[in-house]
């Protein structure tokens, strides 16, 4: 009984440590006062400020677009990579391919960002593409590392897939591509959705790599928040963070419902 109380206490402390700051952030987003740390009464004022702030809205819109493009490409490429690693047990350079695919998981962001910046700059000098840095370069940078995460998630699911199902489909007259489209893909759907959401979040979250490969006029949301916080935390950042939190919660609940219906 004593042990049990101790363990419960530790668990409570752990959760408190994780979530009390978030709760404080949400509460202070409704603060009337201009000072972030002083409670001045309840108000929606800062939410209004957020919606009026054009540079902020631009940054948010850019981030959402990049995150969407990134997640879609990362899932598509990650599926192909995971599928070929799982189904073709032996091919030339398999080991190298596997290693390089997983490398971004452990590579420091600073190195990824710096190396990609060098790549983009020299590419622009050599072939004139990509022209300048912004949406395209950030998206490419994000895809390169999200791809690794997506492949890991999808590989786990492909490993559990019964290969007899694909054989049965082929036996019933489906050509390999049809088998992939009608059998493999639908059975992978839960993993694909998880991987998409993961890649989306990773992109929305990234400050370091985006800072390296973005150019003038292309500020992502994390970059905007970081630069505004450097001059002192403004209450509207709290409001913005609360909105993002709400957005994430909605997505998670929504995807949870999809999974449950599937089952």
């Amino acid at each position: 009984m004593k042990w049990r109380n101790l363990i419960m206490g530790l668990v409570a402390f752990g959760y408190a440590f994780l979530y009390i700051p978030v709760m404080l952030l949400v509460i202070y987003s409704f603060n009337e006062s201009r000072l972030v740390t002083v409670w001045g009464g309840f108000s929606f004022k800062w939410y209004g400020e957020v919606l009026k702030n054009e540079s902020l809205l631009n940054a948010a819109w850019l981030s959402l677009r990049i995150a969407t493009v990134n997640a879609t490409f990362a899932v598509a490429l990650g599926t192909l990579a995971a599928y070929s690693l799982n189904r073709y047990r032996r091919f030339r350079g398999r080991g190298g391919f596997e290693l390089l695919l997983a490398a971004p998981l452990v590579m420091p962001d600073v190195i990824i960002g710096l190396s990609l910046l060098l790549l983009f700059v020299s590419l622009e000098q050599l072939i004139g593409w990509p022209p300048g840095r912004g949406f395209t370069t950030i998206s490419i940078a994000h895809i390169t590392f999200s791809l690794a995460y997506a492949a890991v998630v999808i590989r786990g699911r492909i490993g559990q897939l019964d290969p007899l199902l694909e054989e049965a489909a082929m036996d019933l007259g489906a050509k390999p591509f049809t088998v992939f489209l009608r059998i493999t893909l639908p059975l992978l759907a839960p993993a694909l959705i998880s991987a998409w959401l993961l890649a989306f979040t990773l992109s929305l979250d990234d400050l370091v790599i985006a800072s390296f490969v973005s150019g003038p006029g292309s500020t992502t949301l994390p970059m905007w928040i970081y630069s505004s916080v450097r001059l002192g935390v403004k209450p509207e950042v709290n409001a913005l963070a609360t909105l993002m939190l709400l957005f994430v919660v909605i997505i998670v609940l929504f995807s949870g419902r999809i999974f449950n219906r599937k089952r």
Binding site: A168, D171, G173
Partner: protein, 376 residues
């Protein structure tokens, strides 16, 4: 084998009949392991053909070779006279029912059955009719909208069968079709499967490790061992006339008496056992004098003898064990020469009246045509 007057020849007895499936010296190798070793086999239209063997004997690999899910290392496979050795599974006129059923978990029963029909681009109306027909045939109309995880084992088996039959293949491959069913359901389904096969006229090739199942359902059986086919014959042919000690021992119970050929008397041979006992068996094979052979006699062909004089095929023994199975009793006897002999007697009277008891001395005998002489 003897041909009965007036009875039409079976396809495999007719030298002019063209086999529907031909395996020509087919081998499938995995590294050093020969899963299928130089197998040649002809299967005829409308047959219910069983591949029988213990696990790992290569019977499933053989089936997968026919489906095109495995490619042979060497040899040719012909279906309906066409060489399909290099044809991928989706272009073969063959469907397969998998042991684990392999139903698509994300599709309803209806869509599982429709899957193959959609691949051959059957018009929607015809497709619907075919689905109805299949659901009807297997009595699963009520399961139409269910998903595989909402089905019992027996229901899954029916859906899997319906799905594999939906394209009306000329050849259906069944991998342990009744393997996952319980005993009662199995026995019912056996007969149903045979009826279905006769009704549709489709050639069935099944894989099974259950000899009773193979005996009940098949027109012919191939007994497989270590990648090779040891004997191909009708169920009664396999049972009554096994061609080797292995097949004799694999299918049913058998008493084997080792000995040497002494003399031929018309269509019978006299054989002397190691202990000096004699056997006199009918055999049409040419057997050299002195050849080591085995006399193989099934337990139910052995009977109690009232004549106590020494004669061939007559053995004195002592009852060691009695297994009462209701309809029959199996007696384990130990002969004076040290042979363990099994004898099955039908319980024509209640067991309490039976005279045979543990430890009792008996004399048993069998007829010259009650067994076979094996050289292999």
């Amino acid at each position: 084998m003897l041909k009965i007057e007036g009875k039409p020849l079976e396809a495999w007895q007719d030298p002019s009949a063209r086999p529907y499936v031909q395996l020509q010296r087919v081998t499938r190798q995995y590294g050093d392991l020969y899963a299928v070793d130089n197998v040649s086999l002809d299967i005829y239209q409308g047959e219910f053909f069983s591949l029988l063997g213990s696990s790992g004997c290569g019977k499933s690999t053989l089936l997968r070779l026919l489906a095109g899910l495995e490619m042979p290392s060497s040899g040719r496979i012909l279906i309906d006279g066409v060489d399909v050795t290099d044809v991928p599974p989706y272009l073969r006129p063959v469907n397969m029912m998998f042991q684990s059923y392999a139903l698509f978990p994300h599709m309803s029963v209806e869509n599982n059955i429709a899957f193959g029909l959609k691949q051959e681009k059957l018009p929607a109306l015809e497709r619907e009719q075919r689905i109805d027909q299949m659901l009807n045939l297997l009595h699963i109309e009520s399961l139409r909208k269910r998903r595989p995880d909402q089905l019992s084992g027996g229901q899954k088996q029916r859906v899997a069968l319906a799905r594999s039959l939906a394209k009306l293949p000329k050849l259906l491959l069944l991998d342990e079709p009744l393997g996952a069913l319980d005993k009662r359901l199995r026995e019912n389904t056996q007969f149903e499967l045979v009826n279905l096969q006769e009704k549709l006229g489709i050639t069935f090739v099944t894989v099974t490790h259950d000899q009773e199942e193979a005996m009940t359902m098949s027109s012919r059986i191939a007994v497989m061992h270590e990648g090779q086919i040891r004997q191909v014959d009708t169920p009664s042919g396999i049972y009554e006339f096994p061609n080797s000690r292995f097949v004799a021992g694999f299918v049913g119970s058998i008493n084997l008496f080792e000995g040497r050929v002494m003399q031929r008397i018309d269509d019978e041979v006299l054989i002397e056992g190691a202990e000096g006992e004699h056997y006199r068996m009918r055999s049409y094979q040419p057997l050299a004098i002195g050849l080591p052979v085995a006399v193989a006699v099934r337990p139910e062909k052995v009977r109690l003898s009232t004549d106590l004089a020494d004669a061939p095929n007559r053995i004195r023994g002592k009852v060691q064990d009695i297994a009462y199975l209701g309809d029959v009793s199996i007696f384990h006897l130990l002969s004076a020469s040290g042979h363990k002999i099994q004898m099955t007697l039908t319980n024509t009277r209640p067991i309490t009246e039976q005279s045979l008891n543990w430890g009792e001395e008996v004399v048993i005998e069998w007829d010259a045509d009650a067994g076979v002489v094996l050289t292999e």
